[in-house]
Assembly symmetry: C2
Homo-oligomer: 545 residues x 2
């Protein structure tokens, strides 16, 4: 038996184009000899459709597309993910997260997702009613278990035992010789390795091959990394599809190997490819073809520009350097050097005159009050205004360049450097920004070494350095990982050896800046806990701990 794995990139709600994409992948697999073809979870819909499913005609249009697709399928079955109605008068949620087994022009089987993740970035119980039985499908002398994403996430790989059901055990108890899983499993650092371990364990325990077909592509904050897998009945990984690109592969699930196929990429490489894919899909799926961004001469904007150039081509990236009286000439030179290395356009727009005019405008109201952070923010906001003007005038999507460390403690200006439609690196702690930048320069200088090696500065007042305000980034990022990703209390972080006053300062700053993050651009999620849809904090609250 040969199984086609169609690791495809669907666009949310675009049923006509998703049908085309699925059929193209199906035919590619047929040509390569597939006897059955699998696509990712909700492949017909795009994941996650969120509240679009509540639109009165969303699910009926999905079902029309499914019928059309079924009509195109003959003897080689196609498994496709879609949204179905739940019975209108039965208790529960209105929809099913479903898989259709298409064969001979018909929907032969419908499978409902059983375990519905409702944590982190997932909200499936908002929409879906779980399936209540898992039944093997008999086909061609085989008994096949079909599962959807979370259905195979065993409690060892979850934060706690969330479910009182285990679809894999149910299927195994009923007898299967092959397990299929259709997934839309978003990337974060460490996730590809985690999945390899989990799926290998399932194969070993159930003693059957497992075919794991994951989605690829980015939808808003989520990047789906592909990395589809096949494990043999001994749990060894026989095939891994590439990460971060669409790919079709036809494999024999019953092949057994002694050593796992390699993952073959380091952290920096995975992060880089995740962000490149995230930018490309956000920009192009929105209908834009080019982006603009401010180049400060610092490392964050340099890395963002590098990622954008890789995602869209250098001709589609416009940099703008906007020196103020507090900017060093070196910053402007570094920006031009970067632009030259990348082959992107870079214009220079000095902000001194406009800044002075705004200060003069406010002088009657501010009379007698000393300059303070207000004027620093005014510079950042003037730059944001100029970048948005460029975006409006030339129809670029503006990228914002802040990193996670800054966003965490609010070391950024709302409506200033936070302006932009997409926050490319807002889930990268600053130390990762450096790590990836060095990885990008591994063969030749792309990001100017001067940008990487100089002390970071916002250049909003004379001789300002980030470390005048912030703890060293190694320490800040260490505290933030414990406080934001692991959700530890300050006392617990201090007990791990961090300085008490630093920890309490960081805690207070993170809590106080929830309001800024509420208005932040969507950011590409690459860690286990990004600011964004997976972390939902009240703004107005007074808990300290």
């Amino acid at each position: 038996m040969q199984i086609g794995i169609a690791q495809i990139n669907s666009v949310i709600g675009d049923f006509p184009s998703n049908v085309k994409r699925i059929l193209a992948a199906y035919r590619e697999c047929l040509d390569a000899g597939a006897d059955l073809v699998v696509t990712p979870e909700l492949s017909l819909v795009g994941y996650p459709p969120r509240d679009l499913v509540f639109k009165s005609q969303f699910v009926s249009k999905c079902l029309q597309a499914l019928d059309y697709l079924a009509g195109e399928i003959r003897e080689v079955p196609l498994l496709v993910g879609y949204v179905d109605h739940h019975h209108p008068s039965h208790p529960g949620k209105p929809f099913r997260n479903a898989v259709a087994w298409l064969e001979q022009g018909n929907i032969q089987h419908r499978i409902w997702k059983t375990l519905l993740p409702t944590y982190d970035v997932f909200d499936e119980r908002r929409y879906f009613e779980p399936g209540d039985s898992s039944v093997p499908i008999s086909w061609n002398g085989h008994r096949i278990g079909v599962t959807i994403c979370e259905d195979i996430w065993t409690e060892d790989y979850l934060q706690r035992p969330f479910y009182d059901r285990d679809p894999v055990e149910e299927l195994t108890a009923k007898g299967i010789d092959l397990l299929l899983n259709l997934s839309a499993s978003p990337f974060h650092l460490g996730k590809p390795l985690l999945r390899r371990a989990m799926i290998g364990g399932i194969g070993r325990k159930a003693k059957v091959p497992v075919i794991y077909c994951n989605s690829v592509g980015a939808n808003d904050q989520l990047v789906f990394d592909g990395h589809s897998l096949v494990t043999g009945s001994n749990g060894r990984i026989t095939t891994q599809l590439p990460g971060f690109v669409e790919s079709c592969s036809v494999i024999d699930p019953f092949r057994v190997v002694e050593n796992d196929a390699p993952l073959g990429s380091c952290d920096a490489e995975q992060l880089y490819h995740a962000l490149v894919l995230g930018v490309r899909d956000y920009v192009t799926k929105c209908g834009f073809s080019s982006v603009c961004l401010g180049l400060s001469g610092g490392i964050d904007s340099a890395l963002t520009a590098t990622i954008a150039a890789a995602a869209l081509g250098p001709a589609n990236v416009c940099g703008l350097t906007m020196p103020s009286p507090y900017s060093s000439r070196g910053s402007v030179d570094d920006s031009f050097a970067l632009a030259e290395n990348l082959g992107i356009r870079c214009d220079e727009v000095p902000i001194r005159n406009a800044f002075e005019a705004i200060k003069a405008t406010l002088q009657p109201v501010f009379e007698g009050k000393p300059e303070d952070v207000t004027e620093e923010n005014m510079q950042a906001r003037l730059r944001g205004l100029i970048l948005m003007a460029l975006s409006n005038k030339e129809n670029h999507l503006l990228l914002t360049t802040g990193n996670k460390s800054e966003l965490a403690v609010g070391y950024c200006t709302i409506y200033g450097d936070m302006c932009g439609g997409l926050a490319v690196i807002s889930d990268l702690p600053k130390v990762r920004v450096y790590e990836i930048s060095r990885w990008i320069n591994r063969e030749r200088e792309i990001i100017p070494w001067n940008t990487i090696n100089k002390p970071p500065s916002a250049e909003l007042r004379p001789d300002q350095k980030d470390q005048d305000t912030l703890p060293p980034y190694e320490i800040l990022d260490g505290i933030l990982e414990l406080y934001v990703e692991n959700q530890l209390a300050a006392d617990e972080i201090i007990s791990r050896g961090f300085d008490e006053s630093t920890v309490r300062w960081v805690q207070r700053r993170v809590d106080l800046n929830e309001w800024k993050r509420h208005q932040a651009a969507p950011g590409l999620r690459v860690t286990s806990k990004a600011f964004g849809i997976g972390r939902r904090m009240p703004i107005v609250q007074r808990f300290v701990g």
Copy 2:
């Protein structure tokens, strides 16, 4: 028997102050002769705590506060809402949405919420595991059913039959003579009437008195309106506590009346009080004491200023009028007239010079390109920059003044007039803005009649009027209600008699502007479907329907 209803306003995560508030209300009820005192859902915690519950010490600190509270209670029981742990190794979510029955220094009973809303603004299955049995509590010769909020929401009052349990039926079947409900039920227009009908129906069906204790106060986007209720065993409303204020009342639940106590407020009045409470709580719970806002001479900023002055006192509201060359003198005069009527400060900061300086700065980059919407947005963003500078310099929270109709179709400038920490009227359709403004002027002119009567204009180019771009507001708001609140497809809206090209234009504009709303300030929810936490649309999507 006399029951004390403590309709209180808790602060999320502030256990010490919530304990104080609960004890003060408890003692007030004792003094008035209460035999038992009820507080709202999660009264010890504030609703909704959202992801704060995942912080490693949140629930343990909540339990410590509960123990302290229990120690203060003697023979008169107190019912208090809190978050409990679920058993760490039992399958399911980690927490319970719980009520503790405190008596004689101890926690005598713990009740778990059974029906966990996971729709609209609610995410309870993200956090909580449902209770699996509803058991009456015997006390003082009575059998009392204790329920938590959603537990009494019968399927006739929900969008569909969500649940396969009915706690009220379970309790009634086991025999009760009194039903208590602890709620945190957020306001939207029509909700107070809906609750009266539903609770009356429960009393009639179960033939027992119902005590409904609702939370009051605002937390982020949600405004809790109080309006706690008591119905007799004939389903008639014997008592209704006031809306939008804290209140304690001690009542005899077995009293029966023949006519319902009146609700006693019209739509405009309810909306006004909801927004006043929303502003007051957002601003003061955040630790601010004053606000600033831009006054354009238009009705949106005038209504926002009026609400702010009522919420915080006129001395704590700063208006700024920022005329451009396109502003009429009338707009400035109307702003000053409003400020005088309200007794608030108003400064005038003309933006012409700064605007010209910014245009000159961009001239080398924009050379040869005609003026367009870019320059309109630049004016709005310059005003946003100036308002944020005032906010920073004088430590005001900036209020943003856009209405729901504008926000829906993107007739607003991101980082411009959308700047601000709270969007006061962003859930008010424009026709409601007029309705409430006229209601405010019912006895004397507060909002200048000229502001109400002139054609609305953004004044961003010569002689601009809103209706150059938008359909008449009566039509726009009619379409938006069907498209956004009722989630109908364009075809369905057209079939109700709206012009096809107008409907498709509105649909496209609503869909295209999801990205702007993603970065919008939190807005106070007052309709059945606000932009905000209750409506979760993907930004990148291509569904049309």
